[in-house]
Amino acid sequence: MGLQAYLTLAAVVFCIGLFGVMTRRNTIGILLGIELMLNSVNINLVAFARYSGDVTGMVFTLFTICITVAEAAVGLALVILLFRVRRTVTADHLDLLKG
């Protein structure tokens, strides 16, 4: 398998994630979509690093993984906060702000 196969896989995963972000009605589902998008980046980076024989890409991956975790923590905290205040996590019900 060549580099192209990995890049295609990453692109497919990224697009599934983006599709999920745009179509999911549940905020947890949107968060999962974002996680997919960020994970496709890791596939890309590791593939590029492997095929160019350069470790920078793998180091980059470690950073993206850490940051993804930090983002997920903040995101879930916000979802819990939303549920406490509004008793819902569905994006359709988030309509107090309009105009």
Binding site: A10, F14, G17, L18, V21, T27, I30, L31, I34, M37, L38, S40, V41, N44, L45, A47, F48, S52, D54, T56, G57, V59, F60, F63, T64, I67, A70, E71, V74, G75, L78, V79, L81, L82, V85, R86, L94, L96, L97, G99
Partner: protein, 485 residues
């Protein structure tokens, strides 16, 4: 790491130390709170004052850094653009702090250390972003800037609209971060290195993966600066968050986004950067149109300012679309003028909201009779945002259009000029309520002292830049010229 490296990192180290100190104050305070002793009263609010003093000290320390130095093999530079941006971040954060120190809601006095820690952490992220010339550093800085902003948006967590706004801002912000880092992965793959200096110039017959990566990156950065079609998060977030924070949010992260765009797409690539002119020009045109047209029907002053802010991002993109030294210089000038005008307007919004408990435009009825000075300040800010002569915004728009004309982009300039008239319409709607409509209540609007200081600082900035723009133009041109040498 030598001693010289440390002296070059002084602003960042100072911000880091400040963040730790503020966090410790919070820890001490909460234990003092339990005791309910005399300490509990003394310790009310030192986090905010410490932060303000720390920001002032860091601002002064930026002048000790040798300009043009680069460290870590060129991954981190303290060039004139970076220092210019850092001073802008620090000054705008200090103005915002003067506003937020007067907030007397329970959360701001109980959890003030958390708020100020997030502010300083975000500032540290911005400083890193302004200096980074390496992709990993850039991404980490971007996230360090963004994540505290989500927390600060959701700070008043008991109010019904706040979690919704914070979550919307978070989802859009993280999705855009994912796009940015996805674009970066392609750029790294083609360049074989994460250093910005190793990225090949964008050529029409260059590697397609590079252009794809740069395009995805531009879309991600478009979210961060709230350019069309990635602008929808801004009005919701602005409406729900507290005004002094919004004043800063509408300025500093956008400035950081522009610095990154300049570094990635313009600096050091010469005329090859012209590949991006059509893309940025279209983005600028669409952003100006949407921002200005969507602002007209707004009845909430914060949403109105949010859409007008989107329009201003469009005007700045006009300057950027010229992709010339003068275009970048004029964009930086615009950024400073916008900082004073927009922050000032949001601070007046805070004063009115505190006394009227309303963000509606109707709350401004007869403000000129109730508090003539406050109304005059608001009028100056609105005129500056609208681009009337002898206040800062006029020169900013003129210079940006001038730079675009130099590149022969007459259509874009014509569009911008027409939309400026549209913008005047909705700014003057607010002015009419202040000056012509009769007040509903006679008593003047109470302006807390510190908030007054912040508003006066913005007035001085707007009027000073309007009457005597020359030093700012020289400064902006000097910063821009270093990027194109």
């Amino acid at each position: 790491m030598t001693f010289e490296t440390l002296t070059l990192l002084v602003p960042e180290l100072a911000l880091f130390a400040l963040a730790v100190v503020v966090l410790l104050i919070g820890a001490v305070r909460s234990s003092a709170y339990v005791g309910r002793g005399p300490l509990a009263e003394v310790s009310r609010g030192p986090a905010g004052w410490t932060t303000l003093l720390g920001l002032g000290a860091t601002f002064i320390l930026t002048f000790t850094v040798r300009e043009g130095a680069s460290l870590l093999d060129g991954a981190f530079v303290q060039d004139s653009l970076a220092l210019f941006a850092k001073r802008l971040f620090l000054a705008s954060a200090a103005i915002s702090l003067l506003g937020s120190l007067t907030l007397r809601t329970g959360a701001f006095s109980r959890r003030s250390a958390e708020y100020h820690f997030a502010l300083v952490a975000s500032l540290l992220g911005m400083s890193v972003v302004a200096s980074a010339r390496e992709l990993v550093l850039l991404f980490v800085g971007f996230e360090l800037m963004s994540i505290p902003l989500f927390l600060m948006t959701g700070f008043l967590k008991r109010e019904a609209v706040v979690p919704e706004a914070a979550l919307k801002f978070f989802l859009v912000g993280t999705a855009s971060s994912a796009m940015i880092v996805y674009g970066m992965s392609f750029v790294y793959g083609v360049a074989g290195s994460t250093m910005l200096s190793d990225i090949p110039p964008p050529l029409r017959d260059g590697p397609p993966l590079l252009m794809l990566g740069m395009a995805i990156l531009l879309a991600g950065l478009g979210f961060k600066i709230a350019a069309f079609p990635f602008h929808m998060w801004a009005p919701d977030t602005y409406e729900a968050a507290s005004p002094p924070f919004v004043a800063w949010l509408s300025v500093a992260p956008k400035a950081a986004g522009f610095v990154v765009i300049i570094r990635l797409y313009l600096a050091g690539v010469g005329t090859a950067a012209l590949v991006w002119t059509p893309v940025i020009a279209v983005l600028a045109g669409m952003t100006m149109v949407t921002g200005n047209l969507m602002a007209i029907p707004q009845r909430n002053i914060k949403r109105l300012l949010a859409y007008s802010g989107i329009a201003h991002i469009g005007y700045m993109l006009v300057g950027l679309a010229a992709l010339s030294s003068s275009g970048v210089a004029m964009m930086l000038f615009y950024l400073v003028a916008y900082t004073f005008g927009n922050m000032g307007a949001f601070l007046v919004v805070q004063a009115v909201a505190q006394s009227e408990q309303s963000d509606g435009i109707d709350a401004y009825r007869g403000l000129a009779q109730r508090s003539p000075l406050l109304a005059l300040a608001m009028l100056l800010f609105l005129l500056s945002l609208g681009g009337i002569p002898f206040v800062a915004g006029f020169w900013a728009k003129l210079y940006v259009f001038w730079a675009a004309v130099e590149r022969g982009m007459y259509g874009l300039v014509f569009l911008g000029a027409v939309l400026t008239v549209v913008a005047l319409y909705y700014y003057l709607l607010v002015a009419r309520r202040m000056y012509i409509d009769a007040p509903e209540r006679p008593e003047p609007v109470q302006v807390p002292g510190l908030l007054g200081v912040a508003i006066v600082a913005c007035v001085i900035g707007v009027v000073g830049m309007g009457l005597y723009p020359a030093p700012w133009v020289t400064l902006a041109q000097r910063v821009a010229s270093t990027l194109f040498s």
